[in-house]
Structures are given as structure tokens and as C-alpha cells.
Symmetry: C2
Subunit: 564 residues, 2 copies
């Protein structure tokens, strides 16, 4: 379990402070993560990687000459926020555009895509390659839906070397895409990990058993079986990956044997002895293998095997030199300690002139948010437990962090005299920035959509509120690409919006209409227990969550249920 | 726990096979461990490090240019045998003599000293610096009794750089001695580790508590207290070490923050953030710190802080380049892949001509050893549990490995027509070679002492056997430097020898005398439960073993108790 910390909610940030203090020759802390501390050639493509924290050496350990230019570091097991990603990318960018690469998880995709849009809008060319190496998370003919695990390192390393070699953004993107397409991983878990401050592990595996096809966020496997001796485990891992051997391979492969944190080097060397023997028997030549802790999941026990089918160019970039805190190969010239490139910080919020009626509505909204915050805090652990059943257990922490940030922003906005539209939009931005993850992106942009439908010059009537809620729902439907019945917060939000519309149309006042709709939302959230989650969440064991309500729907209903 | 292996008894060897397969560019497997795969300058001092396995990257991970020339790798948590040490040293030696350096534990000291004697006898100059950095294992004015923990790395690295710089053996030894004298460590444990194949951890720490002053072989701490937040833990570690700040320090220190295996990088970075702040406040300048897993204890959770008070020469050698599987600094030229230096292997045993009476006695000894092996195998787990109370839990495994090797050797000797003296001496050598650890060295050389008192030309009578047992006791007393009452196997062996003498003097036949003496040995072994173990075992918590019989005495009594 995670034992050493000061404040569990500050764990990821404290960790990054200690890390950058230790490796000040190579990395520099910026808002949202780290960038190289040394100069890069002007016009060089910036490779920006990232994801949640808790996976060291992924992702901050891989920043430096020959590898990444920056790493975005979200909260533990949570996607970084759009703002964090944008911040790191702007600090890393040096005139050649940005290639984002990260593991393919819903929250990361949402936030990296939003950040990419923002960069492009600001005139910075940007592409993205989400890594999809985990063979257990979707079939080969639907590989775009697979999760990213230890294959991350291969794709990042090859992209980093291509960028260092002077390839332009399109060319770096193309080589990264090929590296990803030719990389497969398969893993098993022996024991779960415990998040900082949590009272128990995200999952447990019975003694003598192992989870097959685990994820790197404490997700259990897709199946369970007895623990195998090393030689049989090696066969299982190798056979599964060789089954996807591409027709055009030339017999040369990268092999990574990754430990998740609690499975130690000695065990990995024993297993490697068996794996290397099998790869040799299959007439494969292993090029520059790596055995060790590459993508961890705190102290989770387990391991995974990754193979990348090489071609000449991929091999050249994989074996090129690199110097980072956690990955060293050959010898790179270290550039001069760089002059910090000035990144425009958004100044303190200035709010448009607002009418007293709208300012009063903002004050009412603040009071509502304060009650919602209390309700949410009381439910944080329950929401985390619900999320741990199918996901990575970060929903409670994420909601709490987002709500707290939104509340602080809302308070500041009300004090600054903002109207209800500006105040709520400001709060939404703060939520998204602080919470990260899928729900952070949805709540942040969703609240912004609601805010945009309100006004700073008039008091919102019941119909305005109903229409604003509808606008929020429409945004979340379009942005999150989920539908009613997919077991997401939409399953509570859509009935709420419908009920609110209906009661307002029937002439109810806002307070009555809202309360009635909140009851509908609560029932709908509970009813999600009977639903099968949508596949797009890239959580192979999500089927386990049948019988448990969706945490996103539950937390939404909880907030809506606060007295108006 | 340790989950991945094929055969638990082959764990250390399989691990080494996988490790050398992975790092064939840097290391080569030899009998007993690894040596560099690349050429060194003729006349260069060979730095040979080592100890038990289960501590990766210690020790095999630190072999390469700028660091060690060879690493001896014992069984898990057990000292390597004298033969293993000698084998690695001979393969590593290149005309400049050998500096041995290793953590200060009884078994390692015994075996490294014996190997040193053998090298010197063969004309190879050799010195030894046991590392004694652990401040909790003895007071500062008795620092020679302290255990070696993560400070190992500092001493090895500095010695390795001095040897690479062309220092001669005396000069390398002197700089290593100074590095050790100026290095202190202090550690804490959150949870124990489980040996391969064992059914539970070596020790447990209650939830929310931590062991203070732990060892790196799964030994618990000298005290227990509540887990502290990171900032307070940092204060505790830093203050304890600053209390031993030498008068002549110049404010420059190496700092290592070591994770034991289950305490992960993120936690270490959080703690480092606090530690670095405190060292700065104490006006200390930290030179090239290391934070990570340096000396692990399988998956044990915990961490330790090490400080080395620098002078100009120590700093120069600490910051010098090095290229090893697990420690990289700067850029070293890698020498050519070396031609394997031929190390004389001892050929198949040839035995002196033996009289039929002595050969018959050898056959009788073999039958006895077979019964003893059965009795020992049945008790392996119990012996391990007894040892885990005060030590590292390897006694059962070590006895089993030694007895099995001795039995195999004895069988071969009897088949080859050896007399009882040669056969027993051969069996003793095999025991010491395979078992390693303190008991391996004592049993191996003790059986050799017994054998030397017997003859290949006559059948041993009762008086010969009693005298031979007495010779074995005398050897163990002189070699192990323990006395009766120190809670070691001597507490059973001495009363056995006395009783055997007395019964033989009274005219009993060998069989009756032996049986009667075995009963005395058994009672004496049980009575060791009431004894306080001697301090020289470097096991601070050995006091815990009061109330439990000494495993060494118990296993001896068990073997003696087999029907003759």
C-alpha cells in the first residue's frame, strides 16, 4: 500500500516536486508536469507524453534528450486536465509543433484532444498518437479501442528519437503511428494496489490465483486462473503475442518485460530467462530488450510482456541514444540549461459588467454549490469504491477535487461581482482544470455549456434554467460520445433534463420542478445498476459493474438532489 | 510476496541466468556470480562485491566499468559460500589483486575471510572492507559491529572508481575504508517480504505502524511506532544521521534515499522533497543524490536514508562515470568484449587408496546421512520459522541445500571407493559450497575438521569418533568465535562432545554412546530458548528470539539424533 505522503490529495504534486528537485539537471517543473531543463534545436518537434501519476517511470521519468520533451502528470491514475496538457505543451513547444502520445483511455483522449484543439486554434500544429498495445482490451480487428500499457515506452522512445533526428511533425507522427501499430502487450496481476489515503486495495486476487489481462490503473484482469510456474507463464505471455505476429515481420523484435511495482526484479529476471528462451525458439532476434519497472501501478503486483515488430527505421530509433531520469541508452550530448521560454499565463479572471439580478443568481448558485460540496465530500469514499469495481477508483477523488476547485472559483467570481453566466463558466473551467480525468473534462466543459446558455444581465427564469440544463446535456452527449443506456452520467442527466422540461412546461416553479426532476435523476442513477456499461470505456472488466450503479450518474444525482 | 519462479530452490540461479542473458554486453555469468564482460587494464585492482540474492540491484546490478569487477551472488538472503567467492574473485582478478567489499553480516564475513585466505595462499593479494553503515545495529563507538545496508553502494562506487583510476590495492582499500567510515544509514520498515516458496512473510508490521531500524534481509526493526507523515519521517531520518556528523565535515554530503521494494518511487520522491529541504536547512550541499531502489529486500516495504560526509577525493570518485546494468553515470568507454580468462576448475574428485574397513565405514556414514537428510527435510519449514524470529529465515533452506549437496558428494565418494575420511571431507566441502551463509561455512569447514581426524586406512573406533567430534567442536569454536551460551549450534555440539567422550570413556560402544549423547544434545538445543543471543550476530532484534530455541542448535541435534 502507499504509506509515505503528507496530504493524500497533494500526493501527485509533492511527488513531482521531489522528482524535479532530484533531477534538476534534466527536467523542470511547469504547471501540469515537467519539461526538459536543457535546450532543444529550434524547429524540433516537441514530443509531449503523459497520463495519470502513479506509473513511474511513466511518464515524468522519460523526459530528456532522445526521448520526450515534456510529460503531463495528472492526479494518481487520473487523466491530466486539458489545461495541464496545454500548459506543458506550450512550455515544451519550440517551433516544430507538438506530437502528443499517451495511453488510450477515455479521459486522456478527451483531454488531450481538447488541448490539441486549443493548440491548433492558437496556431501551433499538433497531432496525437494514443497508444493501443494491450491485446486483451479489444480484438485485433478493432485495435483502435485497445488500452495503452507498457508499449507506451516503445512508441514514445521511437517518436522521441525521430524528433531528435530532425523529422518534421508529419513524419514523427507517421513513425509513431507505425511503432504503435506494430506493438502488442499482454499482462497479468497478482495483487492490487492501494491509492494514497485509501483504506484498502482497488482489487484483490485470491491467494494462488492471478488476474489475466490486467490494466495499469489497478484494473483487475479479464479472467482469473491459478498462478503458473515461470516457464508456463512465459509460454502463456509469448503465445498470446505471437498469435498477432504480422505477416511482414523480419524476425527482429523489441521485447519489454514490465513489472507493475510489487513483482520484483529477481522475479522478472527468472521470467525473462524463460521468455528469452521461447523467443529464441521462435526464431526471433530480440533487439535491446528492457526488463524492469517501466509502467508501474503503485505497488500492484504483476507483470506484462510487450513485443514490437521492427523494421529498419523503428530499430534505428529504438536503439538511438537517450538520457532521461529513468531511461538511459548510449551517450547524448546534453544541451545547455535552457532559458525558460515564457508561456503566457492567463491572468486573474476579469468579469463582464453584470446586472444585480444576475449577480443575485450567482450568489444563489454559490450557496447551492456549497451544499453540493458538503454532500459530495460525505460520499467521496463510496463513489471511489463504486468506481473501483469497473474502473480505477479515482471518481470520488476527482469529483471532490473538481467541486472544491469550482467552489473556490465561484466564490472568487461572486466576490468580484460576476453575473451567473460568467461565474458558472469560471467555475466549470476550474473544475476541469483541477479534476482531470474523463469526468473532469465532461463536468468542466458541460458546466461551461450550461453557463453559455445563461446571462449576466438578467435573472434566469425556470425556462432559462431548463434550457441551460438541456444545453449541458447536448454538449455532454456530443463531446463524450455516449448515449442513454451506456451506463454513464447521461443516464441520470437526460431523465433530469426531460423531467425539468416537463415540470416547467406544466407551470411549476423552478424550485419544485428541480426537486421533482432530482428525484427522477436519483432513481435513474440507481437503475444504472441493471445496465451493461458501454464498451468504449476500454475497461474489459466493466461487466463486473453490472449490479452496481454508475458512479458518474450517482454523483450527478447527488449534486442535483441538494435543496435549491 | 514472491510469486514468479520455477523451483524455489533454484530461484537465485535462474534469476542470475535471466539477468546475465539480458545484460550480456556488460556481465558474464561465472560459477558463484557475475564478472564484467569487458576487458579491464592489466594490473587493475579487481573490486569484488557480493552477498545474498534478493537485494537487486545489489549486487549483480553494479558490475561494469567504473564500479565493480565481479559480484558474488549467494542464495536468497544467504551469504555466498567460500568457493563461490573464490571463483568470482579468480575470474575477476587481473593482476592487481582483489578488494572484497560486502555488508557486515556474520556469514559474509566468515566466507569472504576464508576466500581471502585462500587467494592470499595462492599468491593473489586481497583485502576486505565490510560495510558498516547502519547506525541502529551498534553504537557509534562500536561501529565495526554495525550492519551494512544501502551505504554499500557508496563504498563500492568509490572503491570502483579508485580502482579504475589506477590506484593500487592498498590505496583502493584505504579510500574504501574512509568512504565506509564516513557513511551512515537509518531505515524503517512498513511490511515484510516473503521468500520464494514460503507460505508467509518473514515478519509483519501492524497496520498503521512501522518498524524502526530495520535490516535488509527481512529483519524487523529495533522498535515500532505509528507511521509518520512524510515530513515527520524525513525529520526522524535526517536528525538521527546528523547526530553522527563528523567534526571535520565540509558541508558536502552524498545522500541516498533507498526503497526496499514495496515502497514505490512516487513515495520516495515525496519523502525526498522533505529530506532535501531539511538537508538544505542544515546548510548541507547534496552531491549527486540517488533516490530509488538501491538495496532491496524482495518486496519488503520501507525505506532508508544514507549520508556520506565527503572530502575532495571521495567526491571525485563518487561523481566519476560508471556503466553498469543498474547504475549509470556520465559516459565510460566500454572495453572490448573480453577473452574469458581461464580459471582453473577443480577436476572430478580423485580419492586416495582406502582400506576396506574405512570404505565400509564410509558406506555406514552414507546410510546415516540419508536418514539425516530425511529428518532435515521434514523440519525445513520449522527451522526457517525459528530463524525468521531473530534472523533472515534462511536456516532451513540453507541446511537443506547443504545436506543435499553433502549427500550427493558422499554418494559419489562411496561409489568411487573413498575411505571415510576422504568421503566426509568431500561431503563437507560440498555442503559449504552449496549452502553458503554462516551455517554453510561452519558446517563445511567443521565436517572437514572432523574428517581430518579420521583415516582412510582403518575403521574408526568409538574413541576415534569421539576425538573427531571434539576436533570439529574445536574448529567451530575457533572459526565462528562464539562461545557456549551464545545461543549458537555450539550450545548443542559442546554437550554432545562431552557426553560422547564420557560414555566412550565409560566403555560404551559407539552406537550406545552416540544415542545417549544425542539425547543430551537435543535437551541442550531446547534449552537455548532461555538464552540471550550473542550480539556479534549483528541482529539487533535477536532479543526477540529469547523463548525460542536456536535454529542452528536444533538442526544439529536433529541430525545427531538419527539412529546410528
Amino acid at each position: 500500500m502507499t504509506t509515505v505522503f503528507n496530504d493524500a490529495t497533494r500526493f501527485a504534486d509533492d511527488m513531482l516536486s521531489g522528482f524535479t528537485r532530484l533531477h534538476a539537471d534534466l527536467v523542470e517543473k511547469v504547471h501540469g508536469g515537467v519539461v526538459r531543463a536543457t535546450e532543444t534545436a529550434p524547429g524540433k518537434v516537441a514530443v509531449v507524453i503523459g497520463g495519470g501519476s502513479g506509473h513511474y517511470p511513466a511518464f515524468a521519468g522519460w523526459v530528456g534528450p532522445g526521448l520526450a520533451d515534456g510529460a503531463v502528470c495528472g492526479d494518481v491514475f487520473a487523466s491530466p486536465s486539458t489545461q495541464q496538457i496545454e500548459s506543458v505543451a506550450r512550455a515544451a513547444e519550440n517551433g516544430g509543433g507538438v506530437l502528443f502520445s499517451y495511453g488510450n483511455y477515455a479521459g486522456d483522449v478527451l483531454n488531450f484532444d481538447l488541448a490539441q484543439d486549443r493548440l491548433r486554434a492558437a496556431g501551433v500544429p499538433a497531432h496525437s498518437i494514443p497508444v493501443t498495445d494491450d491485446v486483451t482490451s479489444a480484438p485485433a480487428d478493432d485495435a483502435g479501442r485497445r488500452r495503452g500499457t507498457a508499449g507506451d515506452l516503445v512508441v514514445f522512445k521511437i517518436a522521441g528519437a525521430a524528433a531528435e533526428a530532425g523529422y518534421d511533425l508529419d513524419a514523427v507522427t507517421e513513425v509513431a503511428r507505425r511503432a504503435n501499430a506494430r506493438t502488442v502487450s499482454f499482462g497479468i496481476a497478482f495483487a492490487g494496489c492501494t491509492l494514497p489515503g485509501a483504506d484498502g486495495p482497488l482489487f484483490t486476487v485470491p491467494e494462488g490465483r492471478m488476474g489475466v489481462g490486467m490494466g495499469v490503473h489497478g484494473e483487475p484482469g479479464i479472467a482469473e486462473q491459478d498462478v503458473l510456474p515461470s516457464a508456463e507463464l512465459a509460454s502463456m505471455l509469448v503465445e498470446k503475442l505471437l498469435a498477432e505476429r504480422p505477416a511482414d515481420h523480419d524476425g527482429r523484435v523489441i521485447a519489454l518485460l514490465n513489472g507493475l511495482g510489487g513483482t520484483k526484479y529477481e522475479e522478472l529476471f527468472v521470467l525473462w530467462n524463460d521468455v528469452a528462451g521461447l523467443l529464441g525458439k521462435a526464431d526471433l532476434q530480440v533487439v535491446a530488450p528492457e526488463v524492469g519497472e517501466l509502467i508501474t501501478s503503485l505497488d500492484m503486483a504483476g507483470c506484462s510482456l510487450t513485443l514490437t515488430w521492427l523494421d529498419e527505421e523503428l530499430e534505428r530509433f529504438w536503439t538511438a541514444p537517450a538520457t532521461t531520469p529513468a531511461f538511459r541508452r548510449g551517450h547524448t550530448e546534453t544541451g545547455a540549461h535552457r532559458q525558460r521560454r515564457v508561456v503566457e499565463e492567463s491572468g486573474p479572471a476579469g468579469f463582464a459588467e453584470a446586472a444585480p439580478e444576475s449577480r443575485a443568481a450567482a450568489a444563489g448558485l454559490l450557496a447551492l454549490a456549497e451544499r453540493a460540496d458538503v454532500a459530495l465530500e460525505a460520499a467521496v469514499d463510496d463513489l471511489g469504491h463504486l468506481d473501483a469495481i469497473a474502473g480505477d477508483g479515482d471518481h470520488g477523488r476527482g469529483m471532490s477535487a473538481g467541486m472544491t476547485a469550482a467552489l473556490t472559483a465561484l466564490r472568487a467570481a461572486v466576490e468580484a461581482g460576476a453575473g451567473v453566466s460568467s461565474a458558472l463558466g469560471h467555475a466549470g473551467d476550474a473544475w476541469g482544470e483541477r479534476a482531470g480525468g474523463t469526468s473532469g473534462a465532461l463536468w468542466g466543459t458541460g458546466l461551461r455549456a450550461v453557463a453559455d446558455r445563461l446571462s449576466d444581465t438578467t435573472a434566469p427564469g425556470a425556462q432559462d434554467v431548463a434550457a441551460a440544463v438541456r444545453a449541458g446535456l447536448d454538449h455532454v452527449l456530443g463531446f463524450g460520445k455516449a448515449h442513454v443506456g451506456d451506463k454513464t452520467l447521461i443516464d441520470a442527466l437526460a431523465p433530469f433534463a426531460d423531467a425539468l422540461d416537463a415540470r416547467v412546461a406544466a407551470g411549476d416553479g423552478l424550485r419544485d420542478a428541480w426537486s421533482a426532476a432530482a428525484v427522477v435523476a436519483d432513481e435513474a442513477a440507481r437503475a444504472t445498476a441493471e445496465l451493461t456499461p458501454r464498451i468504449g470505456r476500454a475497461r474489459p472488466l466493466a461487466e463486473r459493474s453490472v449490479g452496481h450503479p454508475d458512479p458518474g450518474a450517482v454523483s450527478l444525482a447527488l449534486i442535483l438532489g441538494v435543496d435549491l
